[in-house]
């Protein structure tokens, strides 16, 4: 394992401190509970909290700031933060308007965020929750835990962040977040595995001509192991699944997020964006706004995901609403 690291046990804390040091006017860090918060909290708006396992940088700390999150709770690498960490994040950022938790739909995250919400409610804090489940690689079923949350979460942060910044009340902000969730779909692929630092070796091995299609953001295996495809073919294949799912239709306006998984160079992400944009244009699905970069990563995995969010007038307004965070500026 080759990483820029001191002691493996200290990665999360040192990384969070490094992030906060890069943005000292905007961010604060609570070391005991590993919470990154806005330096100046506004108690007159709904508080937005997200988080999850670490290893998804810049998520989630990079989305804390004006117009997006108020706090990000940082678990160990790929492990949801504990109930107690989240509970502390809620109590330390309490506002007059209540708190919305934006949770990626994983068993661990759901259990810990739910548990923390219960504890905070016992303290008399108003807490609402939304669960992001945008990954169309996973079958949505009543009999399973449903889909997982992946890169589309970033766009949900943006929409909910705008709603909160505009001063809407807790239920309204929750409704906006849910509307965002209903309209966003993602799918990804990986050329290589990530290496969880505590493990020190790649989570999976893969041939030189193979990719894992439908992969998540934790190095979990995807839908299938396949031969690698050209950028155009890959885009076609990914969009097919996404578009059919909602479905997105001719004439729809969308936000497009081309997201790298950590070690994918921008060169490749821009090239992928070119392929994806061409296909959407051919289908007359109109790209209202594009985001290309490493937003929701899987440590050092090589690969990318595509997310589309269908936009109506309200969502467009929220998307355009100013945000100023380390990793997302509008």
């Amino acid at each position: 394992m080759k990483k820029i690291v001191n002691k493996v046990e200290d990665i999360v804390i040192e990384m969070c401190e490094g992030m906060v040091k890069a943005h000292p006017e905007q961010l604060s860090f609570n070391k005991k509970y590993k919470i990154i918060t806005r330096k100046k909290l506004n108690t007159n708006k709904v508080t937005l909290i997200s988080g999850g396992g670490s290893g998804h940088e810049p998520a989630h700390g990079g989305f804390v700031g004006k117009g997006m999150l108020d706090a990000a709770v940082c678990g160990d690498v790929f492990a949801s933060p504990s109930t107690i960490q989240i509970y502390n994040a809620i109590t330390k950022t309490e506002s007059d308007k209540g708190t919305l938790l934006i949770i990626k739909n994983y068993s661990g995250d759901c259990m810990n965020f739910d548990g923390a919400a219960e504890m905070a409610e016992d303290d008399g804090i108003m807490v609402e929750k939304v669960y992001v489940n945008d990954d169309v690689a996973v079958k949505d079923s009543l009999y399973t835990i449903g889909r997982r949350g992946v890169a589309g979460t970033v766009l949900v942060h943006k929409i909910a962040g705008a709603a909160a910044a505009k001063g809407l009340n807790l239920l309204e902000v929750k409704n906006s977040a849910e509307k965002a969730i209903e309209n966003v779909r993602s799918i990804g692929f990986a050329f290589t595995s990530c290496t969880v630092p505590a493990k020190g070796t790649p989570t999976f091995t893969i041939g030189d001509d193979e990719m894992e299609f439908g992969v998540g953001i934790h190095g979990e295996p995807g839908i299938a192991r396949e031969k690698i495809l050209s950028a155009d073919e890959l885009s076609e294949k990914m969009l097919e699944r996404i578009i059919a799912d909602l479905p997105y239709e001719t004439g729809d306006d969308v936000a497009l997020l081309v997201n790298g998984f950590g070690s994918t160079p921008l060169q490749e992400l821009y090239l992928l964006n070119n392929s994806v944009s061409k296909i959407l244009e051919n289908k007359n699905i109109k790209i209202y706004k594009t985001f290309v970069g490493n937003y929701m990563t899987a440590i050092d995995m090589s690969g990318a995901s595509i997310s589309l969010m269908k936009l109506d007038k309200e969502l467009k307004e929220m998307l355009d609403y100013p945000s100023d965070t380390p990793a997302f500026k509008i």
């Binding site: 504990s82 109930t83 068993s107 259990m111 989570t203 999976f204």
Partner: protein, 195 residues
């Protein structure tokens, strides 16, 4: 019926086992999850060890409560709240009886309340259910533990991270069932059963 000393020994052995087998648990979790189950539990074991070494427990309930709260505070992931709930639930039960089967049944109950998993969903629950049943009949053996563990192999996961894999989850032992198997083997080794 159970002595607090043997239960402390139990938790100590369990901590040793997950720590020794960290890589194995991580590997099982790499196959159908995110590769951190061993790391998560090792972190938890270290935190529990530190916590319980601070106090001299004279009642079971306090002991289990500290174990459970430490797991809930320090571990995160899916296994933190699940094992945490098991011990917190056992702490409550310990106030009423010191029957080992009843204690562990309460633990299972805690896990299922938190995680909503039933038998056959390829989770740690599939290790706990047969073990609790055997304990009730005073028939807990290594074979019971090992058999139920192996049975998770053919199951298709419908709870936990492995459920995203659908059919691809079949053919692998569930990591949480493996760590629970260590838990119950430790129980036997600690002499807590029929002791």
């Amino acid at each position: 019926m159970v002595e607090i000393e043997s239960l402390k020994k139990w938790i100590e052995l369990y901590g040793e086992k997950v720590t020794e087998n960290k890589e194995h648990l991580n590997q099982l979790d790499s196959d159908i999850g995110d590769g951190d189950h061993g790391s998560n539990l090792t972190r938890g074991a270290a935190a529990v060890k530190e916590k319980v070494s601070e106090s001299d427990y004279d009642n079971l309930s306090d002991f289990f409560k500290d174990v459970g709260m430490t797991l809930v505070s320090k571990v995160g992931g899916a296994s933190g709240p699940l094992y945490g709930s098991a011990f917190i639930s056992m702490a409550k039960q310990a106030k009423e009886s010191d029957d080992l089967a009843a204690l562990l049944e309460a633990g299972l109950d805690g896990i299922q309340k938190r995680g909503k998993a039933e038998a056959g969903e390829k989770t740690m629950v599939d290790e706990w259910i047969p073990v609790v049943a055997a304990l009730k009949e005073n028939k807990l053996t290594d074979e019971v533990i090992e058999d139920s563990l192996q049975k998770t192999k053919d199951m298709k996961a419908t709870k936990g991270r492995a459920s995203y894999l659908g059919d691809r989850s079949i053919g692998h032992i569930d990591p949480g069932a493996q760590s629970s198997a260590y838990l119950f083997k430790s129980l036997l080794e600690a002499g807590a059963v029929n002791g």
